[in-house]
């Protein structure tokens, strides 16, 4: 059976430190001015003294039903055998249809390659070496979990079975593979 890589972001543990963001830049040589991964600190919400922030991870959601893949005219955007939404740089002409079609607005044009770019869970580098994605490794509070959800013994599978999680914009039918554990103090909103 193929792998089903998922990521879980525990918004209770996250402190918005951007270590993941920096680790991603360095691992994937992300050029200046563009990003594959941001953790937006939103808020504060609530009444003092019970204030809280929301830590919103903004990165490719690795949709099972990816709008960027279905709109791509050349097939440069594709889903690989492990379900990772990927890009053939040499097939991309830069029409930006995928950039426009992504409901999460996480695709961008790489200023160096001029092709569409985004998070691919470090597929070509760390994943290929059997390591965890850079953001997961760098996270100082262990707020990120990554693994194969098809393996029932994996940490992510156990987590998804035991914790309340949500995904963003599920009403669009995209079936994202980034799961979020909501802050206990906050409501569940996508």
């Amino acid at each position: 059976m193929n792998k089903r890589y998922v990521m879980v972001h525990d918004e209770n543990k996250c402190i918005g430190c951007q270590a993941c963001n920096i680790a991603c830049r360095s691992e994937n040589n992300v050029p200046e001015g563009v990003t594959r991964l941001q953790v937006r600190v939103e808020g504060p919400f609530g009444e003092a003294p019970h204030l809280h922030f929301k830590y919103n991870r903004v990165s490719c959601q690795q949709c099972e039903n990816a709008p960027c893949v279905s709109v791509c005219p050349t097939g440069a955007a594709y889903i690989d055998e492990n379900g990772l939404v990927s890009i053939h740089n040499d097939k991309c002409v830069g029409c930006q249809y995928c950039v426009a079609a992504c409901p999460y607005k996480v695709r961008f044009i790489n200023p160096i390659t001029k092709a569409a770019d985004k998070c691919n869970f470090c597929k070509d580098t760390r994943l290929a070496r059997g390591e965890q994605p850079a953001c997961v490794t760098a996270c100082p509070t262990d707020a990120l979990y990554f693994g194969d959800a098809n393996d029932s013994q994996s940490e992510v599978a156990l987590l998804l079975n035991t914790k309340i999680t949500y995904q963003e914009k599920t009403h669009l039918g995209t079936k994202p593979r980034v799961y979020r554990i909501p802050t206990k103090r906050g409501g569940i909103e996508s």
């Binding site: 951007q18 563009v34 990003t35 709008p67 005219p73 002409v93 830069g94 607005k105 961008f108 914009k169």
Partner: protein
């Protein structure tokens, strides 16, 4: 809280800009012009002489689509790799289907222009093309039918192209292809008139001009109806779709809509129909009204592209 997460420029929801709006306009104009030119030829009893309207359509069809495609190619981040899009096809993608249609439509449009404008070629020092026109002449009927069908496809596909993106509630509606097709017809009629009057010296009282004028009113009414459907669909959907209605009363795109689309594109041509017949048939007024229709359609494409992308669900 300060931004600790870095540059936000890439997250601007407006990805496709005015270049795409101009392309959508040019494709609609080309298709509308061809549909009206060929449609009127089929409807006319005289199939022997090439009417000035048909000549105008035969000329506008390939010229407008070429200018539009030039916009499209130079809007790519890798313009010199545009040929990749001609050899790789993902038929799930509306864009790939559109590219395939354009790949047939553009050369057929040029072939049809050579056929219709055969007698005019020497005047434009293009006499060397007459030989090709003679070779194509026996295939006129089939070229005409194929071009007509492809023109419907080209006119509507631009609407499907942007309605396929379900992230944008204003674009993700079923009426958009229909709206684009009818507004393309209105732009095509206006452009046919301008070119027929200025280049092919048609008479403002000619029966073809009168016939083309008769479709103007139903086309404008259809356009207005589709716009009402578009906005009421957003209203009744509610939620993030309904917030897109704010584009009608806030910001620059509200002005573009009310002044450009409604005022210049609908009101002026409709009011001009109320003028006495003598004034209505003056060349100056006809040209002015036609330019207003073209401006209105161009404004509509800009409004849809920008306001549509500004609201995300």
């Amino acid at each position: 809280m300060n931004n600790t997460w870095g540059d936000m420029a890439q997250y601007d929801p407006v990805t496709w800009n005015w270049v795409i709006a101009v392309y959508l306009f040019m494709a609609g104009l080309s298709a509308g012009s061809v549909l009206i030119g060929i449609g009127m030829r089929w409807y006319s009893r005289d199939k022997q002489t090439e009417s000035p309207i048909l000549k105008a359509a035969a000329l506008i069809g390939p010229v407008a689509i070429s200018l539009g495609l030039a916009c499209l190619v130079f809007d790519l981040t890798k313009p010199f790799h545009f040929w990749l899009i001609l050899v790789n096809y993902n038929f799930q993608s509306v864009m790939a289907i559109g590219v395939a249609a354009l790949l047939a439509y553009s050369p057929l449009g040029i072939a049809y222009a050579l056929i219709v404008l055969k007698d005019d070629l020497p005047k434009w020092k293009l006499g060397f093309l007459s030989g090709i026109a003679d070779l194509l002449m026996p295939f006129r009927k089939i070229i005409e039918v194929l071009l007509f069908i492809l023109a419907i496809g080209v006119g509507a596909y631009t609407g499907f192209l942007i309605s396929a993106m379900n992230a944008y509630p204003m674009l993700n509606t079923a009426v958009l292809p229909a709206l684009f097709l009818v507004s393309g017809l209105s732009a095509g009629a206006a452009a046919n008139l301008v070119v027929a009057l200025l280049m092919f010296n048609t008479d403002t009282h000619s029966p073809e001009v009168a016939k083309m004028h008769r479709i103007e009113l139903p086309v404008i009414i259809a356009e207005m109806m589709f716009l009402v459907m578009l906005f009421s669909a957003l209203y009744f959907t509610g939620g993030s779709a309904a917030t897109a209605l704010a584009s009608l009363n806030t910001g620059i795109w509200a002005s573009v809509f009310w002044i450009g689309v409604v005022g210049i594109g609908f009101a002026i041509p409709l009011l001009a129909m109320l003028l006495p017949s003598s004034a209505r048939h003056s060349k100056a007024l006809m040209l002015t009204v036609a330019c207003c229709s073209l401006t209105g359609v161009l404004a509509l494409r800009h409004f849809i592209v920008y306001a549509g992308q500004s609201y995300i669900s």
